[in-house]
Symmetry: C2
Subunit: 593 residues, 2 copies
């Protein structure tokens, strides 16, 4: 649905008086968890910017002051106190503009809250009512649900402020607020990226706008926080479901729209006051008249936002890039190091790291053994050259021989098996960690979701690192990302041979992944059903997959929960990531048969 | 409070009829998460045992059929179906006795439920109302709260069945059930061990009994499940707060008591019907008359339970022993291997492992370097001999030299630092993991809570393993456990020298822990306040600790969250363990100043 932004037109209200448009600004900013003073400074900066644009109101994302999710930090009483003090700093900046900002409120218990600030003070507080406690969310661990359904009158416009899930829940707060007269719903969010989420959000916000004949403004956070990436893309939708403005994807942004409040009132009148429930509870309306507003001079014109439509692979690519950039930067690192094998996973990880951090901040390490092919070396060197990154080459043969020697007594009369393969992977891990320790580089691990799901990875070996970039990207999708990235430039960055060779760990002679695993084109849909879809083996066989294969995959997934529990944090990109999104017991005899 | 068990006496009721005692049995059993058929077989076994003892009713712990906590297994629809089928098997065994068993019920959503079964069928279902969602608990992630307050009449006795938190919440369900006529509250639990919990439970159960003038039966789970150890010690308390029976600590048990129902009714009459609220909602009473009961012949006499009082160190010791035994056994391992350093942590871990599994199931590995003292070797050899375990000695010098050689190019013009120390620890980790891979032994890691809190441990080095036995035991308490265990035998198992030497990682010449850390006697109380108590630096300085020391400790704790995130599972023994009990963001700029 494409519509013209409403712009700054003025309409006469039914009483003949003129109701001016209401200028709404949304700041989608990148906060850092726990950085109360940094976040506060950033909020104040954007308040000034919005004020310069003559906005009546500027909103910020959910839990702006603390960053999201603050997790067990909110169990520290002093942290709550410090966040309340930071709120006062924000409120003091709220002059000549109304500010809606997220913070943790404390009464007898604590609340995920939004403060509406004006005239230098907190005027109204909304407590989030619907607390998500599924997937990656643990909000009932921390917060009490609020019970307010009040609305606020700002410069003559009735506004309902609510938080994230409050809007997602269909028969939730937005309806109550609209019935209590709100023509504008200001909804502040920390809604993490996952494939397809942006469309879902737009559909939901349009639905709420139409259901309630209200303008709905969905303000999202942006930035990476451990396994989550918040993708921004906040939207403002009018009461007819038309998109008025949309924030950038994966970047900070301030979007502004002039809202036709009179249009909402007229539409409601035409609907025979259907949105005003005569039998509902009497609304509590707090009137806030912001000094200096409504702005009476000539306003800076609003630049209509263009709606950027990203392909699935493009948004995945940007999510991963931002996830790396923020994890590295927010944790005080500048450089990263990556073990390059000549395979596609390490090539994509290194490319993303260069795109996130710059080529000077990425160090490749090639760690060949007797089983490493000449082609791997060629591919690694070509990749490093294409990316412009430094490359260390360190053979693992000498420590490998040393280990075999010192273990020869204990291993007498045993056969070579995966022990020796794991040992090679662990030597590589040790070397990467030694470089990390010596030079302060963060190690990025390279395993993809398919491998991590079935345990085709060595714990303390190729799994070492501070962040597992591709942990929630299935192998088949890793190839798609590689092809996407290669197509961005005239010459491909990732060598063709890397994309065309059969995947192999090169831990024994002639090894390929398909010696141990089904082809990825079969494995990935099975894993999607088993790991993301909560299906059991019988369900997946009924979908048409080979029974022994599905049983093998189920056994492999169940058998390596202990590895995943000790894995670095990965970037969530699918509806169910490996991490706090999926909490399986280690000790588990259920076989999913 | 010590009281005589009531025994099998009969009392006349006010109408002149005789109300016989009600024989209640409590089975505290060790379930395995996901082992629906194994758990069901065990439940049926104990039903038969209780029936042979002529019990009117036997109860089982919370979520008996699935094991506790089943975590995201309950998101699999087929798992719920399978658990409902298992419930039918249990119900079919419920003949001549009433059975209360825990399972996951499914209506439109799912519930943590208790089924009351009789005459071969499920008769009544209670849905847990109060769902814990703090600490290690995530029940609101899975379950909807129930709203029933009904009571059941079993063989003429009115009973209120509820689950765990339903009893802990003071103004909760037990009061409503007592007001609805319940003289007996059957409460089924999965209440994990932590220091001091047993006393707390007894106080709580006595309080509920006195508040409601009711007999309260608290049935607990027993056994280890990942980081949790359930300690059993179920209790039955009469309406005057007297303990009638108590289950064993850290062992399966069946306790039986003959309940003086008439005594409860008489006491309530004397209290002028204070426990019957005339204004309360009308109770829903389901009448269940169990065929073949009430038992009319002469009953097997009840053996009065003796109340075992454990010292704090004794219960800690038993918790750790059971935690090891069940993690190893339930995950299909038989042998474990432990790196022995000559220090107290590895000595205590090995001793606990031998006590849990037997000396033939424990393999010690001594991994000396150039920095290892002769005294360490003497202590390790003495320990292994005292414990009767196999000992491998493998020098790490050769691979260490190999690493230094292959890294000499990359490390040119750098100084020796913790990189080389970590490398030694990682070589040890590699060797332990190689033995694990080759022989199928589970590696137990040995780091204590003090070290793990401040990050005085090498990720992928001494942190490798399937279970971190002492991860929730502060260093000072590790010494206490060692002394306790040594005192159990005429000759100490852990060499005196190990207990008397200054703690050292022996990663460089002359190193001791106190080069990098405050003395443990100071560190441990600071950590207790900071890690367990949610205090910030200023709070702890106000408690009388040296400000620079507290700041240093705070920085160290905050700076190594990434290490803890990748640590093996540890056994929870304190009110707040490092693990799912404490969920701190990795990316976190809050400095707790």
């Amino acid at each position: 649905m494409d519509c013209e932004p409403v712009g700054g037109n003025r309409l006469a209200d039914p009483n003949g008086s003129v109701l001016p448009p209401f200028r709404l600004a949304q700041a989608q900013i990148n906060c850092i968890v726990g950085d109360l003073s940094g976040n506060t400074k950033k909020i104040c900066h954007w308040i000034r910017t919005a004020r310069d644009l003559h906005a009546d109101l500027v909103s910020f994302p959910e839990l702006t002051i603390t960053g999201y999710p603050p997790e067990d930090l909110v169990l520290k009483p002093q942290f709550i106190t410090d966040n309340l003090n930071a709120l006062q700093v924000v409120a003091a900046e709220a002059r000549g503009i109304v500010v809606v900002v997220g913070f943790v409120d404390r009464r007898r218990s604590i609340y995920n809250a939004a403060a509406l600030c004006a005239d230098g003070q907190v005027q109204v507080i909304h407590h989030k009512r619907h607390l998500p406690n599924y997937g990656v969310f643990d909000e009932k661990r921390y917060f009490n649900p609020g019970d307010a359904r009040h609305v606020v009158e700002v410069n003559g416009v009735t506004i309902g402020v609510n938080i994230c899930e409050d809007l997602w829940v269909g028969h939730g707060l937005a309806r109550a607020q609209a019935r209590n007269g709100a023509t504008v719903i200001v909804n502040i969010n920390a809604s993490p990226f996952q494939a397809g989420k942006d469309d879902e959000r737009e559909r939901m916000v349009r639905a709420r706008a139409l259901q309630n004949t209200a303008i709905v403004a969905f303000n999202n956070l942006v930035g990476g926080q451990d396994e989550l990436v918040f993708d921004g893309r906040g939207i403002i939708v009018d009461h007819t479901g038309c998109l008025l403005a949309k924030g950038k994807a994966f970047e900070e942004d301030l979007i502004v729209a002039d809202l036709d409040i009179q249009g909402v009132l007229d539409a409601r009148d035409r609907k025979n006051r259907q949105s005003k429930s005569p039998n509902g509870p009497r609304p509590t309306v707090t009137r806030v008249v912001c000094s200096g507003s409504p702005y009476s001079g000539s306003r800076v014109p609003v630049i209509p936002a263009t709606r950027e439509v990203l392909t699935p692979v493009d948004e995945l690519y940007r999510a991963l890039r931002l996830g790396i950039r923020d994890y590295v930067g927010k944790n005080g690192f500048s450089k990263v190091t990556i073990g390059l094998s000549g395979g596609v996973d390490s090539a994509v990880t290194a490319t993303l790291a260069v795109d996130a951090l710059g080529c000077d901040q990425v160090v490749g390490v090639f760690l060949p053994s007797r089983h490493t092919s000449a082609a791997s070396q060629t591919d690694v060197e070509a990749l490093a050259e294409n990316l412009g990154i430094a490359l260390h080459t360190i053979s693992i043969e000498e420590p490998y021989a040393a280990y075999l020697n010192i273990l020869s007594g204990a291993f007498a009369e045993t056969e070579m098996d995966t022990t020796e393969e794991n040992l090679q992977a662990r030597i590589r891990g040790d070397i990467l960690m030694a470089l990390s320790n010596k030079f302060g580089w963060l190690v990025l691990s390279t395993g993809n979701k398919s491998e991590m799901s079935v345990g085709y990875a060595t714990l303390y070996g190729d799994m070492v690192g501070g962040m597992a970039v591709l942990q929630d990207v299935p192998k088949t999708m890793v190839y798609t990302v590689a092809a996407f990235r290669n197509a961005l430039m005239p010459e491909p960055v990732i060598p063709d041979h890397t994309l065309q060779r059969a995947p192999t760990a090169e831990l024994r002679e002639g090894q390929t992944d398909q010696d141990s695993l089904p082809p990825y084109a079969i494995l990935d849909p099975i894993l999607k059903a088993y790991v993301e879809g909560n299906r059991v083996v019988a369900d997946i066989v009924a979908m048409g997959f080979d029974a022994p294969t599905v049983q093998q995959v189920g056994r492999m997934v169940d058998g390596c929960e202990y590895k995943r529990r000790q894995a670095p944090v990965g970037i969530k990109t699918t509806p169910r990531a490996l991490g706090k999104d999926r909490r399986m017991p280690l000790t588990n005899r259920y076989k999913g048969a």
